[in-house]
């Protein structure tokens, strides 16, 4: 890997925001295409962060620090990506379902998806089916990502899927669900397209759902 891309990669792994922003600027100034900087420097680094998390070497704090370093670099890169017409990997509308205020898991998934170059529309927690539908329509989302931590709020995942059907957009969007009580069987029963056990595997799932 080119030295400057390696420096960006290492800076993200180490959560060194200053190094990342300095080296992204240097890479841009040197004429490196923005999508190369993004994919080989940044997305590759977040993929490695995900691997380190799955292996138990990193925990959420390290992932957050890495994600923030990436976001700092991305802030410099975004205008150039827009100019070069480089698109996000996909658009994800994310939220914790109606009646549920737990958002830690959902926030982690959003962070990792952003690290994998997805555009995230985070609706927060206690999100009604109608809000999910409106957001999918407004943003032409590729994926809906729903989270629930309570067995009493899980049923709202199906209610949301039914709302997507009623709005005539269920076939235009993939639905992934997650949270401690969510099982693959439950995901299948309610008609979701998949579930992942943690934030890192949620990225793998999201990519597979949209065929990248």
């Amino acid at each position: 890997m080119e030295a400057i891309l390696q420096a960006i990669y290492d800076g993200i792994i180490d959560g060194n925001k200053d190094q990342v922003t300095a080296k992204v600027q240097e890479a841009l100034d040197s004429g490196l295409p923005p999508e190369i900087i993004l994919n080989q420097g940044m997305v590759a680094a977040m993929t490695e962060v995900g691997r380190l998390f799955e292996e138990g070497e990193y925990f959420v704090p390290e992932m957050l620090v890495a994600a923030r370093a990436m976001q700092a670099g991305l802030a410099l890169l975004k205008p150039k990506l827009v100019q070069a017409d480089v698109k996000a990997a996909g658009k994800v509308v994310a939220g914790t379902v109606k009646g549920d205020l737990h958002d830690i898991g959902k926030n982690l998934v959003c962070m990792m998806l952003e690290g994998a170059s997805f555009e995230i529309i985070d609706l927060g927690s206690d999100v009604s089916p109608e809000q999910f539908v409106e957001a999918v329509q407004a943003h032409k989302a590729d994926i809906v990502a729903m989270s629930a931590l309570l067995t009493t709020t899980m049923p709202n995942m199906k209610v949301t899927i039914d709302a997507l059907k009623a709005a005539g957009i269920r076939d235009k969007v993939k639905v992934m669900v997650g949270g401690a009580p969510v099982t693959p069987e439950f995901a299948r029963e309610i008609g979701a397209d998949g579930t992942a056990p943690d934030a890192s595997q949620a990225v793998t799932l999201a990519k597979s759902l949209i065929g990248i």
Binding site: G56, Y58, F59, T152, A180
Partner: protein, 395 residues
């Protein structure tokens, strides 16, 4: 559910028990709903007392609905008023014990947990949580006295158990969860200082520390709460309990019946064993076996060893009346215990856990003794997470 639980108690000749009705958000938001359910449950309990002689008490745990807004209004908002009405109406409807798993400071500590930020955790627990506990429990104790019911107690569930669960899911290091466990004790103690008399809430694994200081009875959960969550000290948690609990269990049918009465049976057998040990003067042996079966099996159980709990109680007393000083003392004690266990090879510390142990040990050295000074050093984004006036703090 109540009827099935009490029927199982009758079948197993269990003469006394406490049932807990822990409210979901809506049952507190609309207090009359929670009161209606309370009186329904109590009616069944009284029926079983008349017909079978079962003596039972009902703990009603009100939901902390202030948590829904961010930043939350802990004192001035509608949610606080609804909560106080809920306490009042449930006490009138038949609750014998009033409790809550209050969340003052959680808007900061959740964020600090995910950042692994010790300063944020100390401020969140030692200042915000403690201030909120004092304010809230003054009201709860007044309501309890007015209705001649028991002001039971609070729990650091939303802090220390959150950390424990995130550690179980490998999102956080166990060393951090262990430190937060001890850090949470001073905040829970405030309820007792304002008049709560116990039995303290079951999900407060920090209860042995509070019992050592105050002598109040404690409810504990451990292995029998595996239906709700895993814990690294399933036996140790029972060592000095006065009530033994199963947390909450999903109401599903298994071969021998529905899960609430199945877990009731498991608790009854555990209590039978513990009471037999007491009657035969083997209580100390039973206690020690429960401790020794767990205390070196996990990083987190190291800090719940009864010897550590006693030392924690001693250091809290030594720290004086200030919750910040006490919380800082608990942070230091937890890291001393963990460092010693690491150096003595008592428990396995993985490479990542070791890295975190050393990081936290370094971080605690620079925590100031004055909360005002710590506040000046908190990350800027942390300050916007809470409303100082809602904690009786002024800018």
């Amino acid at each position: 559910m109540t009827r099935r639980i009490l029927q199982r108690a009758v079948e197993l000749k269990q003469e006394t028990l406490v049932l807990e009705f822990e409210q979901l958000y809506e049952l507190t938001q609309y207090p009359h709903w929670g009161a209606y359910v309370t009186s329904d449950i109590k009616e069944v309990m009284e029926e079983f007392n008349r017909t079978h002689g079962v003596k039972s008490a009902l703990r009603v745990t009100i939901a902390d609905i202030r948590d829904k807004e961010r930043p939350p209004r802990m004192r001035s908002g509608e949610p606080m008023q609804a909560m106080l009405k809920a306490f009042d109406q449930c006490a009138a409807a038949g609750a014998d014990i009033l409790s809550i798993e209050s969340t003052g400071g959680k808007e900061l500590t959740d964020r600090a947990l995910l950042d692994g930020d010790l300063g944020g955790l100390v401020y969140g627990l030692g200042v915000l949580a403690a201030n909120d506990m004092a304010y809230l429990w003054d009201h709860i104790v007044e309501i309890a006295h007015r209705h001649r019911v028991i002001a039971g107690g609070d729990t650091a569930c939303g802090f220390a158990n959150t950390a424990m669960q995130l550690a179980h899911q490998r999102m956080l290091p166990k060393v951090l969860a262990a430190v937060v466990r001890l850090m949470a004790a001073p905040r829970s103690l405030v309820a007792i200082e304002r008049g709560a008399t116990g039995p303290l809430k079951d999900c407060a694994y920090e209860n042995p520390i509070l019992k050592a200081i105050s002598g109040v009875p404690i409810s504990m959960e451990g292995k029998t709460s595996a239906c709700a969550h895993s814990s690294p000290y399933g036996n140790l948690a029972a060592a000095v309990c006065d009530l033994w609990s199963n947390e909450s269990v999903q109401d599903v049918k298994l071969l021998s019946g529905y899960t609430p009465e199945i877990f009731t049976e498991m608790l009854i057998y555990d209590c039978r064993l513990m009471n037999t040990a007491l009657r035969q003067n083997a209580g100390g042996i039973m206690r020690d076996l429960l401790v020794q079966s767990d205390h070196k099996m996990d990083i987190q159980s190291l800090v719940m060893d009864l010897e550590v709990c006693f030392e924690a109680a001693r250091r809290i007393k030594e720290s004086g009346a200030d919750s910040y000083a006490r919380t800082l003392a608990m942070t230091r004690l937890a890291l001393e215990v963990l460092m010693k266990a690491y150096q003595d090879n008592v428990v396995e510390f993985s490479r990542s856990e070791t890295r975190w142990l050393k990081q936290l040990n370094e971080a605690v050295q620079s925590l100031p003794t004055e909360p005002g000074e710590l506040r000046n050093h908190l990350k800027a984004e942390y300050i916007s997470l809470f409303i100082p006036a809602e904690y009786g703090l002024w800018n």
